[in-house]
Symmetry: C2
Subunit: 335 residues, 2 copies
């Protein structure tokens, strides 16, 4: 368990999180030998009593094919963690490992909600006015209009349940906001969304509109979503690198930054990608959260918070009855 960074990141993040949430218990699936040293650093016996460890020798690698994981790695930490959700031992599962394998295991062990053909990776992104749900972020590189419709319903209901927004505005990511813009696939999706009274469809949105907060839910295929997310991430990292260079080369900058550190902390708190780590695999009969593979301790802690929030709202169970019979019937063929 633990993605690229391993238990040196995930275990301290978990212990921190348990310290904050007294009612949360954790099952840790992983190699006991690798996990134990980090657990032994904690002296709080009451807290440790809330951690159950299941030793697993099998590990899913980033290079593993999802089909191979499902067939051969049945005793891997990832496989057992997803099973724990399926068997109701756990309310949610969090992994920083191979996304494709996690998707595959989720599909096989948890199955999709009625009317949903495949789950979408969904995260919240910061906007000038709050946060927006964006999906899909890479699970489905190509999507049919029916799938994009399903993602719109899932995103919309999630924003309603988690952020208490009565009629979340839904927009489709496109290269322009005019009606005729974009591919045939987007045109057909717009048509489906306009015809669905359950979706508050508000038209197209361009890439910059995500951060302007022009919609509560932004829907796109996994290719576009992944490109938008990663490009932004790369830009943010470039700014950080340039700022670091500036600080290294200027004592004046270092001194003044020290003075105004409070303001910068405010800025960092709003923009820190760590605080947006933790993406839902939306559309399954159970909560599965994907953390960035190279997540920091703070970022993995955020993924745990995302899981706890979803579990507190009983996400898939609360969501399922909101899917209408008409939606389920219409989408039966595409499932």
């Amino acid at each position: 368990m633990g993605g690229e960074s391993g238990p040196g990141v995930t275990v301290p993040a978990l212990l921190n999180c348990l310290g904050k949430h007294q009612s949360v218990e954790a099952i840790l699936y992983g190699d006991l030998q690798k996990v134990a040293p980090y657990l032994s650093l904690c002296n709080d016996q009451a807290l440790l009593s809330r951690v159950k460890i299941i030793h697993c020798e099998g590990e899913v690698l980033d290079t593993d094919k999802p089909s191979d994981v499902i067939r051969a790695k049945t005793n891997s930490s990832m496989s057992l963690a997803v099973s724990a959700v399926a068997k109701k031992y756990a309310d949610a599962c969090i992994s920083a490992g191979n996304t494709g394998a996690l998707m595959g295991l989720g599909l096989i062990k948890l199955r999709t909600l009625p009317g949903i053909s495949r789950p979408a990776i969904c995260t919240t992104l910061p906007t000038v006015s709050g946060r927006s749900y964006v999906l899909d972020l890479g699970a489905n590189v190509e999507c049919s209009p029916e799938q994009l419709h399903q993602f719109s319903v899932l995103g919309s209901l999630t924003a309603y349940l988690l952020d208490d927004i009565k009629q979340p505005s839904v927009r489709l990511l496109n290269v322009g906001v005019e009606e005729g813009k974009g591919s045939n696939q987007l045109q057909r999706t717009a048509h489906l969304l306009s015809a669905d009274p359950q979706v508050n469809y508000c038209g197209f949105v361009e890439g910059n509109g995500i951060f302007k907060g022009l919609a509560n839910v932004v829907v796109c295929d996994g290719f576009a979503g992944n490109i938008a997310l990663k490009a932004t991430e790369g830009f943010a990292m470039m700014i950080a690198t340039i700022l670091e260079d500036l600080l290294r080369n200027s004592w004046l900058a270092r001194v003044t930054l020290g003075v105004m550190s409070r303001s910068f902390e405010d800025l960092k708190d709003r923009l820190d990608p760590a605080l947006y780590n933790g993406a839902y695999l939306l559309g399954l009969h159970g909560i599965v959260i994907k953390s960035h593979g190279s997540a920091s301790k703070k970022a993995f802690e955020n993924a745990l918070e995302v899981a706890i929030e979803a579990a507190r709202h009983n996400l898939p169970k609360a969501l399922a009855p909101l899917l209408t019979d008409k939606f389920i019937t219409n989408n039966k063929e595409s499932v």
Copy 2:
């Protein structure tokens, strides 16, 4: 002429630019009544003698269909400006107007280079180590592998001619770097690029790799390119908004920012979107530069600089003979 901001932005930008470049002359296509007040603010008669004004009453609107502009708006400022390049009255044309119309006029009046089926919108983006050429940014929402191959050749030769890079590294924008990732279209493009000895193809790149400077040239269809560019732009604007809020609400931040203004100017100079305004319509027999519709004076000035740089390097003329016979023959069918 002048896009959303109009001659109040473009004329002062032009005059500034002419002040810097003594050997440059300008032909201004536009409504004399709207243009004149801004020209009259300039007292430098020698500079003004380098500006020729062609009065045009027709104007291309953002809502105009390209086909309508080509057919009916033959006396518009945009149409006449593109004609000036075709008739060799001008070495380059710059417009902040309707992108589709500019593309259409470029195609009709300037035609594409041999082996090129359609032009691509190409711009340079800042990276941690310099700048990268990214194309297409929205002119061609869907592209065939042959078109993406053509864009790779165009981008590569442009980086060679303008930035003096002997073998520019070319990468395809994708949702992962592993060979099997992405759509069938990208797989086929990768195959075409690997087989072309003129292209230094280095594999796939993810969105964050653009800003890491992992390639001199990043190639994608217009949909992906537009999403990446606009998402980044939106994120940058969000940071600017948050920073402004911080400064408004904190006297300490304002004072310290005053002290370290030099460092911040350095940062702004590297990141300011204005300094990346001005995109090439690459692949035409002539230089056509597209400015952002809502460009500031500084941004429009940058678009003028892009045009001057391209003209100094005699871009399409220097590029055309570098297209190999094999490339032209192979791409004949797709043109």
